[in-house]
């Protein structure tokens, strides 16, 4: 329990307005958990799920490979190959749990950090690097992968997700009972983004139209240097109540619980029962991005504390203890991770710089005479240098 002062008495009961501190709290009694930090399987009355050994190994593999994407990209940034990288260290379970709960027809609206979800959608991780290297702004086809391009403006994509969900409604692809047809949207955002107007407007629109959308907030406790207390005085998941739909706080370092909760929320949405807010309670183990210096604002004690909750380690313990894996599994995965690293290192350096004239290509679907003239002028200008350095 927090040693911070509780605010308000009387009608404002302390349970509603308690100020949580980032380091002290364990997520509170409401936290949905299926696998403890010690790797113990626990059960939950509402959100349980029978996991096959295959599924469990799959989650583990996904998280290891996602971490590898992150560490490789971080290293590439250090080598000057990427301008910046948004790290996800510690958030693998939140992302894989959510990503694996999706059906092909569902649609994802990501922030700039959803590398694990992207991986679940079948996007080559190499394609994630383009934005951070500066060669493109995302090179996958959102409509083909049902995974939107990364969004840098905090929270903006949440509204896009709600609008898309309203489109799903209008297409009659909600509540038909056909598992291949009924679809939902998941909109990702951070705890900092929860303060943005767009996120709150998204809540209102979704509630008002009962849109099939899951709001998936990864509460990693920090928005660059600003702690969660700067964004909210109540646990974030409780905000949903004020907007008129359910909110659930799940252990975001527990891939099993995140999967089960997100799956249930997505199913609610597909069934036509409207939005849910899922707060995945987690911690940003790495820096905010490679340009951040968390030692200026974060206690190393906190980091040590959260290391003990590592999402990959706890599943590893569980798999081993229950004899669900052998050494060959780890060896194979190790090799797979190495190959992925190689693919990213070599592929990143080979990503071609865009041609200068390509900047004119897709400003519009139907270009304008003005732009054509600018392009032609620039082309002629560039051509005037040809042979100059021969």
């Amino acid at each position: 329990m927090s040693d911070r002062p509780t605010v308000g008495t009387g009608t404002f009961g302390p349970d509603l307005v308690e100020v949580f501190g980032p380091s002290q709290q364990d997520g509170g009694p409401e936290l949905v958990q299926l696998l403890t930090p010690e790797g113990e399987r626990v059960h939950h009355p509402e959100f349980d799920h029978d996991f096959s050994a295959e599924e469990l190994r799959g989650f583990y593999r996904d998280m290891v490979l996602t971490r590898r994407i992150d560490t490789e990209a971080t290293a590439l940034q250090r080598h000057g190959e990427l301008g910046i990288w948004a790290q996800l260290l510690g958030q693998e379970a939140a992302q894989i749990g959510a990503g694996r709960a999706l059906r092909p027809q569902d649609y994802v609206f990501p922030t700039y950090r959803e590398h694990g979800v992207a991986y679940c959608r079948g996007i080559d991780p190499l394609n994630l690097l383009g934005l951070f290297r500066g060669v493109d702004q995302g090179s996958w086809d959102p409509a083909e992968k049902n995974f939107g391009l990364y969004t840098i403006v905090i929270g903006a994509q949440v509204l896009h997700g709600v609008g898309y969900a309203m489109g799903i409604q209008r297409d009659g692809a909600v509540g038909t009972g056909d598992p291949d047809r009924d679809a939902a949207v998941i909109a990702h955002f951070g705890d900092g983004a929860s303060s943005q107007g767009d996120v709150n407007e998204g809540f209102i629109f979704a509630a008002s139209y009962n849109a099939p959308v899951v709001f998936f907030c990864q509460n990693n406790q920090w928005a660059i240097s600003e702690p969660i207390e700067r964004q909210t005085r109540i646990p974030l998941y409780q905000r949903a109540l004020g907007f008129g739909f359910p909110g659930v706080r799940v252990d975001g370092n527990d891939v099993l619980a995140t999967y089960a909760v997100t799956k249930a929320a997505l199913q609610r949405a597909r069934d036509g029962q409207g939005p849910t807010l899922v707060e995945a309670y987690t911690y940003r183990m790495g820096a905010h991005t490679t340009t951040d210096d968390p030692t200026r604002y974060r206690l190393s004690d906190d980091v040590e504390h959260w290391k003990l909750k590592d999402p990959i380690e706890r599943l590893r313990v569980y798999l081993r203890r229950n004899g669900l894996v052998d050494q060959a599994f780890f060896d194979d995965l190790d090799q797979e991770a190495k190959d992925l690293g190689h693919h990213l290192r070599e592929g990143c350096k080979a990503l071609p710089d865009p041609q200068p004239l390509s900047v004119f290509d897709h400003v519009f679907t139907e270009t304008t005479d003005e732009l054509v003239a600018q392009r032609d002028g620039y082309e002629a200008y560039l051509a005037s240098f040809e042979g100059e350095h021969a």
């Binding site: 959102p142 409509a143 896009h160 489109g167 767009d198 209102i204 008002s208 679907t365 139907e366």
Partner: protein
């Protein structure tokens, strides 16, 4: 009803919206009060009754929400037509418009389209309170990825709104609110309209070219009439499209007259007039007999309505600029 009828701008827009919704089931209307009420200006009157609440959507009072959800709808394959209730209330949606709507096609290298129309009743002269009389066109015209048009009369309203909705890029559609219920024109629905992104000579003349759009087209035409009685011949061009600009008819005219007056309600500083002046100077320098002159709103916030008639460019201020131009 016969083929021809006399309509107001409000009616033209309403008929155009209706036609667009009939032609394409993917067209949706969204905004505050657009349903039962038909919008505060009644532009969407009767549409919800005929097309249902799923296609004419009364939204929560959140402009960023309206535009942001429209982005999602467009990504899902719909063609949202968004109504911003008044010009001064577009700013809460400004981020979504300039950072999302305008950039989605570019960001996705053409894979995602944004076929969206954002309708904004703009301009002053209706005696309204603060925030109800603004002219934000330059802010949008300055944004790559947006196309910006302004209609000035009922017939254009009817055609241009349909063309904007059918267009695959996002269009900021400016409607001169003080004209909504003003003059009637005869509409021939079987006519072939001019393409959307073209300007038009609405009165020919030989002494001075007057450039206008939206509400100032009427002012310019009045000035041309007054000038005629003084023996001066003004050519008036209704720009109709602000981004892209259709400069060919402008250049052609300026080469004949050698003199230009630009008039708009928006603040002069860094407004459309500045851009027009720069382009004309670049292209027609040796044809010019006088500098390009601008007549617009002053660089002040829009004033209280009791003095708006003084603030807005009117016939006299346009005539004064014409005189100054001819004095060079």
């Amino acid at each position: 009803m016969s083929g021809l009828q006399k309509i107001t701008l409000a009616k033209g827009l309403n008929m155009g919206l209706r036609k667009a919704m009939e032609d394409d089931p993917k067209v949706l209307i969204m905004g505050e009060d657009v349903g039962k009420l038909g919008g505060v200006f009644r532009i969407t009157d009767g549409l919800q009754k005929d097309f249902g609440e799923d296609r004419v959507i009364d939204s929560p009072l959140a402009e960023s929400g309206i535009v942001g959800t429209a982005v999602g709808m467009a990504l899902r394959g719909y063609r949202p037509v968004v109504e911003i209730q008044f010009d001064g209330f577009v700013y809460p949606a400004y981020d979504q418009i300039v950072c999302q709507v305008a950039k989605m096609t570019f960001r996705s290298q053409g894979k995602s389209k944004m076929p969206m129309v954002i309708r904004i009743p703009f301009g002053g002269g209706i005696g309204a309170v603060e925030h109800h009389s603004e002219s934000p066109e330059a802010q949008f015209a300055h944004t790559p990825g947006l196309k910006v048009v302004a209609c000035s009369n009922p017939v254009d309203g009817y055609w241009m709104i349909q063309q904007a909705i059918a267009h695959d890029d996002p269009v900021i559609f400016l409607e001169p609110k003080r004209q909504y219920h003003a003059d009637k024109l005869e509409l021939d629905e079987s006519a072939t309209p001019a393409p959307l992104f073209t300007s038009r000579v609405v009165r020919t003349g030989s002494d001075v070219t007057v450039l206008a759009y939206g509400p100032t087209v009427k002012t310019a035409l009045k000035a041309a009439e007054a000038a005629e009685s003084e023996g001066r011949s003004l050519e008036v061009i209704d720009l109709r499209t602000l981004s892209p600009l259709d400069m060919a008819p402008v250049f052609e005219s300026v080469r004949r007259t050698g003199r230009v007056v630009v008039t708009h309600e928006a603040h002069v500083n860094l407004g459309m007039g500045a851009e027009l002046s720069a382009r004309i100077t670049e292209e027609c320098f040796y044809s010019l007999e006088a500098p390009v002159l601008r007549v617009g709103g002053f660089d002040t916030p829009y004033p209280p309505s009791r003095i708006e008639e003084e603030w807005l460019p009117d016939l006299d201020r346009v005539m004064d600029a014409v005189d100054r131009s001819l004095d060079y």
